[in-house]
Symmetry: C2
Subunit: 241 residues, 2 copies
């Protein structure tokens, strides 16, 4: 392996490994040879090989575990529907056996400008913040931060903790149906907090969906920012008229 045409060695090696994995000539058993073995095979320093591996880990092609080895990531994505009737739990039900939501934390706090505007409250009004985690097949899928009008939904966190469902919780407060008004979708690297909660390795990507839900009268009832593990999830936007 030599340097050529201004393309860094580690890049060339990353490309080769990616291709070899695709072709099944490497890691077909789900496991990559050790760094030592690979660096000898490519005739480069272990650091150089590690740069290549790091890039592939970044891409989500590989997963490295200290003390165990480097493994090929299998990825088939969960399709997450986004429509006026989006219900965070439905839709995914057919794609995975074990889906569960849990309440990580909650807090009563004064509404920030952003939250207040979205919920049509006055800035500083009491709002309930819920920090929730969703898992599918035992692995984290999404991490959401939601805000609710604390005066309109007193004890929402208790109802949610019992039901484990936003939809059911709303029903408890007499809201039989609600709609998603808008969703802003972006993508970024997971921050430290998300890395921990979603059990991701540094550099992982999250799909961020910021949404406002409204009741039948069009009054905002929930403002939420959900971070999805990009490697595991795709958002399906239905815009059928």
């Amino acid at each position: 392996m030599t340097r050529k045409s201004g393309v860094a060695l580690w890049r060339q090696i990353a490309d080769q490994i990616r291709q070899a994995i695709g072709a099944g000539t490497l890691g077909s058993d789900g496991r990559l040879p050790t760094e030592m073995a690979l660096s000898e095979r490519f005739g480069v320093n272990r650091h150089t090989l590690r740069s290549a591996i790091a890039a592939l880990v970044q891409e989500g092609v590989l997963r490295a575990e200290q003390g165990r080895g480097t493994f090929v990531e299998s990825r088939q994505k969960l399709s997450y529907p986004i429509s006026a009737r989006t219900r965070f739990s439905t839709g995914l039900r057919e794609q995975t056996r074990d889906r569960r939501s849990s309440l990580l934390a909650y807090a009563l706090e004064p509404a920030s400008d952003r939250v207040a505007e979205s919920l049509r409250l006055t800035s500083g009004a009491p709002v309930l913040r819920l920090e929730t985690l969703s898992e599918a097949d035992g692995r984290p899928v999404s991490r959401a931060t939601s805000w609710f009008d604390a005066e309109r939904f007193p004890g929402f966190e208790k109802v949610y903790a019992e039901t484990g469902s936003i939809t059911l919780s709303f029903q408890h407060f007499g809201i039989s149906d609600y709609f998603r008004r808008s969703t802003l979708v972006s993508a970024r690297h997971a921050d430290a907090s998300d890395l921990a909660d979603l059990k991701l390795s540094a550099g992982a990507i999250v799909l961020v969906a910021v949404a406002t839900n409204v009741d039948g009268e069009g009054v905002p009832v929930q403002y939420a920012e959900t971070r999805f593990v990009a490697d595991r999830v795709e958002l399906s936007v239905s815009t059928q008229a």
Copy 2:
């Protein structure tokens, strides 16, 4: 700067730099001190500092330019609407002065299974592939690959090259209106090709939107995969009933 609690030095430094930038105590002029200066300041080897910077470049917080220096990325995003009436050019017009689309390449080819299914053609049927690039204010924003039924739209590439607009091109073929049926949104690291076209640095994130557009009768007319620069774009999904 010393090692503590199992958190790697370069991670601690990355966190400090990120925080300092946020607080305005570092790079407030848009420019970071040199690697040498920073490594001395943190009392670590330049390699260690470079690891921290590399991580922040990955995150899109910094941008390193060989021979010039390391700079703070300013990021305010363009909001890109996705609805049944999504028109790739409209909507963005108010957010940026100079918006332009260009045709990078086109080719006549047999439809792959995926393309054929989306366009409701038989596999292997002749389709036209367009590779286009969109720029705003002189910087690349998105890179799209579109497929069209070559028999229904002969010479589509010429019309597009002239008009620079998919909407106008469809009108030329008698399609006065068309709708977006579905959009699949995901996020991943930009591949080599996208890195080049979108002028990104390695590790950058792209928002991927895979969409099918249909004419008034519901017949698919365009199947497209668009890669947006995640640092510059957010997708706005309107699901108002």
